[in-house]
């Protein structure tokens, strides 16, 4: 299964963290730090697989992709195929690109919720449930439509008018 999905900026700031195995919240920062150390230590144009037994437990590996200012990192165990995981990162990035129209780091910074929605459409409980980017984009759009339908006002910040009408 996939143990964790991380997006970390080249400035060592986490942009997306999702753990599929329980990791104590107070340990998250250390995990990000040690992963980032591995990432920053490995030069470009080398293989993208790193054994991370010491960080995530025996048999775990990490695959990453360095795109612009971001590292996309998937941590997985022996039940996943290395190259398939690399492809999955590609799919994930493709989806982001399609959902945000030329994705950049700022999109990822300001769209915490949508990022999770996209990821949840791809991976559930560490299992990949959808690998087609079109299908994921379609589902994400469908969810947005549904939520808009359900309530058009809920995301508007609490306003004076709301206060008065209550």
């Amino acid at each position: 299964m996939i143990q964790a999905v991380m997006v970390i900026s080249t400035q060592a700031k986490p942009r997306l963290l999702k753990f599929y195995n329980f990791q104590a919240p107070e340990k998250h920062q250390d995990l990000v730090r040690s992963v980032f150390q591995l990432l920053s230590a490995s030069p470009d144009s080398v293989s993208n697989f790193v054994k991370v037994d010491t960080i995530f437990g025996p048999g775990t590996k990490m695959v990453y992709k360095h795109l612009a200012t971001l590292y996309f990192v998937f941590v997985f165990d022996s039940s996943e195929n290395e190259l398939a995981m690399l492809d999955l990162i590609q799919v994930f990035v493709e989806i982001l690109d399609r959902c945000f129209k030329n994705v950049c780091e700022l999109d990822i910074v300001f769209n915490f919720n949508k990022l999770h929605t996209i990821l949840d459409e791809m991976i559930l409980g560490g299992q990949v449930i959808e690998t087609s980017s079109e299908q994921v984009v379609k589902s994400v759009e469908e969810i947005e439509r549904l939520e808009k339908q359900s309530s058009t006002t809920s995301f508007i910040p609490k306003s004076i008018t709301e206060r008065f009408t209550r």
Binding site: N21, S45, V46, L124, G125, I143, S150
Partner: protein
């Protein structure tokens, strides 16, 4: 759920209360000041704000606050007490507003953790509601997707009652083949097998055969996850037919990868499975264009089907293509990784790719280099160790320091493994060790030094070469500056002192040991150097004095052997360039190291260089220097000897006596000491080790306040000791053994010499000596000697005798057996379900025992099991001894076709191709056997597959 907001400690400003900041506002404020302090302040402010807002009665405010809190805790590691967040999240789960609900589920799945499990029961009802079908289809699908998300989140899978309550809700979703439900079910089963397996396993298994490719793919992934290594894969054997079907029909690479992974785990458990899947796997391997699938096929073949030569060759061919992929380091890395998966038994197959692998040693990528090194070390054997080590050492010079040391470490470990079992030619190995020490970045001095001494102790025939190598190390003044080499130099000094009688030029050796740059050495090494000089000088005196006494034939023979290699020593003499020796007249000194002049020269050298060290403030050096100078003073008369010649017989004989005594001090040969040599020391008469000394306890404990440094008799220590030792052992002996453990050194006095074999056989003797010494346990080298004895004429060098102690053998054989497979709850639960009524008679513990036994038997003795099956076929009477009804059913089926049961040997399967119609027939049989209580553990699978 509205909780009244308590009065805030500091009244917030009007703007703060009127306008709530959204998540975007929060992100912007965090980015406004990117410094750590600024960010911390912004987070603190946001947190206090959130704590106020999250108690707001209206859902909109609450949800935004929750969103901000989830963001902060996830990406800014804000130390959020889990409680307020979890509670608000669970509160909002019930919101009819879809966006609120979505937020709540997200926050809950991100932040719930076992500490907040007490809140999870509050969510159970909501999850139940959201999972049950109602309302509009699209809306409902979204809601249940959210519920699955929470159900599969790490915290929820740790909650024990959640699966119990919600497993039944999952079943209907499984029946529809929803990939989400399948993934969630897998997590739930993994989290609490006992509760979830009875309900969820069968619907999940049914999904494997689902016509919907998404469902079957998800199910394959789920089973791949559930059968992952810590778990036992045996309970999944009955799924083999469905998986096989998927393997041959599925078009999804993802599904195929997962199916291959499951098969790779099942194949070792069921020998006939390998023969069955090898063809489809090879087809996939040749046909597939997807690299991921190709790689998975390679992995499956190399890990699970290593006995199928054609498949292995095909897979290795593909792996070679991977290694040759010039533009993709990932493929190169994975290619090497794949070759490494083929176990050590097949190392020769990997040998074909040696050139490709050796090329990878120079790759720019660290991972690839490491993997290549690992592979190369895996294929080392006694025939190619010389080639490989030479090739590797040549790579050391080209590599960066870190990898160079990895290579050196690997070579040392491989050659030193199991008392140098791979090394045949020790002369080569010793010079290799010396070469390694001289490589540029060598940081393995400790291990090289240890092995040099160890080889000296164990292999008598290697000593001349050892002494030669030690000399070259010692005379090189450049090496003295490298602190990594100190242990090597120390070993070299010890060797040249200990085996001084093999040295060619003791004068040069003394010069090397006393050269000025030795002041750079650490104290411990200097002490070894001085002691080595002591040994050398003792030996020189003894030879010199002996020659004075009888200048007969024996001495001449000795000098023939010891005739100095003049060219070498003269060269090094120039290199050393010591001004002092020019005065003495080097040419005369060089001619005969035991002439009067050279002895005097050495005495002078010692007095000038070691003399000042008498005042050294390091005790080790000071003591050794004192010893040496003292000895030189004692034999001072030697100077006069030359003048008086054989004037009076009294003086020289006294001197001779003295020198001889000193020489005998060092004559005793040192050998390796067995780890449990202690046990061979017989207790002296009258010492009763088992005597109970407990009555002494009161006496001792009165004034003994420091028990840790001496033997202790406290009664309280009895418990701790007794649990470890056998209960009959009294406290006295146990504390003695404690003491013995701590001060083991002092116990080794008598009996040690018995353990050390002094009678080394000559390796180049045509007759291998048959030493009956019980300590030497060296059958292997003995047989090697026998084999090689005949080939002596063809210039093959026989492997010299290597002293090996029985305990070393014992230790190495004990170690691998430490990893006993352990039972996991999942397989237990699965077995309960799959075995049906039969298994219920057995307790789960019992079942696990059987499983362990079964696993062991299967792996160790396939032959015996197949033999058993054959017996069943040929003697029907013996079958009736098996009493379970299932087995009888099974036998009835078999009985219709007795030849079929004959053909149960795996080998026969491979040779006879399976025809299509037979496969169809079995598929039919598979269908019937998926009924609940006709699935015994192993025997039925035969039916599925044949």
């Amino acid at each position: 759920m509205a909780s009244t907001p308590p009065a805030p400690a500091v009244a917030p400003s009007l703007v703060d209360t009127l306008f709530q900041r959204s998540l975007n506002d929060l992100v912007k404020s965090l980015r406004a000041d990117p410094s750590a302090a600024g960010e911390a302040a912004a987070v603190a402010r946001a947190l206090s704000e959130i704590h106020r807002e999250i108690r707001a009665p209206d859902a909109a405010t609450k949800s935004v606050a929750l969103q901000k809190l989830a963001y902060l805790s996830s990406l800014h590691f804000a130390p959020v007490g889990s409680h307020p967040l979890a509670f608000a999240a669970i509160e909002l789960l019930a919101s009819p507003h879809l966006p609120h609900k979505h937020l709540a589920y997200l926050a809950a799945s991100l932040s719930l953790h076992p500490a907040s499990l007490s809140l999870l029961p509050l969510a159970t009802h909501q999850l139940h509601k959201d999972l049950s079908p109602s309302a509009g289809a699209a809306h409902q699908q979204h809601v249940s997707a959210l519920a699955f998300q929470l159900l599969a989140s790490p915290a929820a899978t740790a909650a024990p009652d959640l699966p119990v309550h919600l497993a039944h809700d999952l079943v209907q979703h499984l029946a529809r083949g929803s990939p989400r439900a399948i993934a969630a079910a897998a997590r739930v089963i993994a989290a609490s097998p006992s509760a979830a397996v009875p309900v969820l396993f069968k619907p999940l298994a049914a999904c494997l055969a689902s016509p919907d490719p998404r469902a079957s793919t998800a199910a394959a992934a789920a089973f791949c996850d559930l059968s992952a290594p810590p778990a036992d894969a045996t309970p999944f054997l009955p799924l083999a037919p469905d998986l096989y079907n998927l393997l041959t029909t599925s078009r999804s690479n993802w599904a195929l990868i997962k199916v291959l992974k499951v098969f790779a785990r099942l194949a070792p458990l069921e020998p006939r499975l390998a023969a069955r899947i090898v063809d489809p796997v090879c087809q996939l391997l040749t046909r597939s264009s997807a690299m991921s699938l190709t790689f998975e096929c390679i992995r499956t073949v190399l890990t699970a089907l290593p006995a199928h030569d054609a498949a292995v060759r095909l897979a290795i061919g593909k792996a070679k293509e991977f290694i040759a992929a010039a533009d993709d380091p990932n493929l190169r890395y994975l290619g090497l990784l794949a070759l490494g998966m083929l176990g050590p038994a097949y190392a020769s197959t990997v040998n074909d790719c040696r050139d490709a692998i050796a090329k990878s040693l120079g790759d720019a990528d660290t991972n690839i280099r490491q993997e290549a090194l690992h592979l190369i070390m895996g294929m080392v054997n006694e025939n190619n160790v010389v080639d490989i080590a030479g090739m590797l050492i040549s790579h050391v010079a080209k590599s960066d320091p870190e990898f160079a040391n990895d290579i050196l470490g690997a070579v040392l470990a491989a050659c030193g493994h199991n008392v140098y079992e791979m090394v045949v030619d020790f002369d080569w190995y010793v010079s290799l060790l010396a070469d390694m020490a001289r490589t540029l970045h060598c940081a393995q001095g400790d291990e090289i030094g240890r092995q040099l001494v160890d080889v000296g102790l164990r292999v008598q025939d290697a000593r001349p070469e050892l002494v030669r190598s030690a000399r070259t190390l010692l005379i090189d003044p450049a090496l003295l500056g490298n602190h990594f080499l100190f242990p090597v130099l120390s070993a070299a000094a010890w060797i040249s002192g200990e085996y001084v009688d093999l040295t060619k030029d003791p004068v040069e050796l003394v010069e090397a040991l006393l050269q000025p740059r030795t002041s750079l050495l650490p104290i411990s090494v200097r002490a070894v150097y001085i002691h080595a000089v002591f040994k050398v000088i003792t030996w020189c005196f003894s030879v010199y004095v002996g020659r004075l006494g009888d200048s007969g034939m024996a001495m001449d023979v000795m000098f023939d052997r010891l005739a100095p290699d003049q060219t070498v020593s003269l060269d090094s003499n120039v290199a050393l360039g010591s001004g002092e020796e020019q005065d003495i007249g080097a040419s005369t000194v060089r001619k005969d190291p035991f002439s009067h002049e050279s002895i005097l020269y050495m005495i002078d050298l010692i007095q000038t260089t070691v003399g000042p060290l008498i005042n050294c403030n390091e005790v080790e050096v000071q003591e050794r220097a004192h010893n040496l100078i003292g000895f030189v003073h004692l034999v001072r008369e030697i100077q006069e000897l030359n003048k008086r010649k054989v004037a009076d017989g009294d003086e020289p004989s006294r001197l001779k006596e003295l020198v001889k005594t000193m020489r005998t001090v060092f004559c005793q040969e040192l050998g390796p000491v067995s780890v449990n040599a202690q046990m061979k020391v017989a207790p002296p008469d009258g010492l009763i080790l088992n005597e109970n000394l407990v009555e002494l306890a009161g006496m001792v404990s009165e004034d003994d306040t420091t028990p840790s440094t001496s033997i202790f008799f406290y009664p309280c220590s009895r418990h701790s000791v007794d649990t470890r030792d056998e209960p009959a052992v009294s406290i006295g002996s146990s504390s003695l053994s404690e003491h013995r453990k701590r001060h083991g050194l002092f116990y080794l006095q008598t009996g040690k010499t018995e353990d050390e074999p002094n009678d080394y056989p000559q390796a180049n003797d045509s007759l291998p000596s048959s030493s009956n010494n019980s300590v030497i346990n060296d059958d292997k080298s003995k047989t090697a000697e026998l084999v090689f004895a005949g080939k002596k004429s063809t210039a093959t060098k026989s492997r010299p005798k290597v002293v090996k102690l029985d305990t070393e053998d014992f230790l190495s054989s004990v170690m691998p057996s430490a990893n006993v497979p352990k039972e996991d709850p999942l397989s237990g639960a699965l077995r309960d379900v799959l075995l049906g009524s039969d298994a219920k008679a057995l307790s789960s513990q019992r079942a696990s025992d059987i499983n362990l036994e079964g696993m062991l038997n299967k792996t160790s003795s396939n032959e015996s099991s197949s033999h058993l099956i054959e017996n069943l076929g040929s003697y029907p009477a013996s079958r009736s001894s098996r009493t379970t009804s299932k087995q009888q059913n099974d036998d009835k089926e078999k009985g219709t076709n007795p030849r079929e049961s004959d053909g149960k040997e795996p080998r026969k399967h491979r040779s006879s191709g399976r025809s299509g119609h037979r496969q169809g027939k079995h598929k039919h049989r598979e269908k019937s056997s998926t009924q609940p209580d006709t699935i015994p553990q192993a025997s039925v699978i035969q039916d599925f597959l044949l």
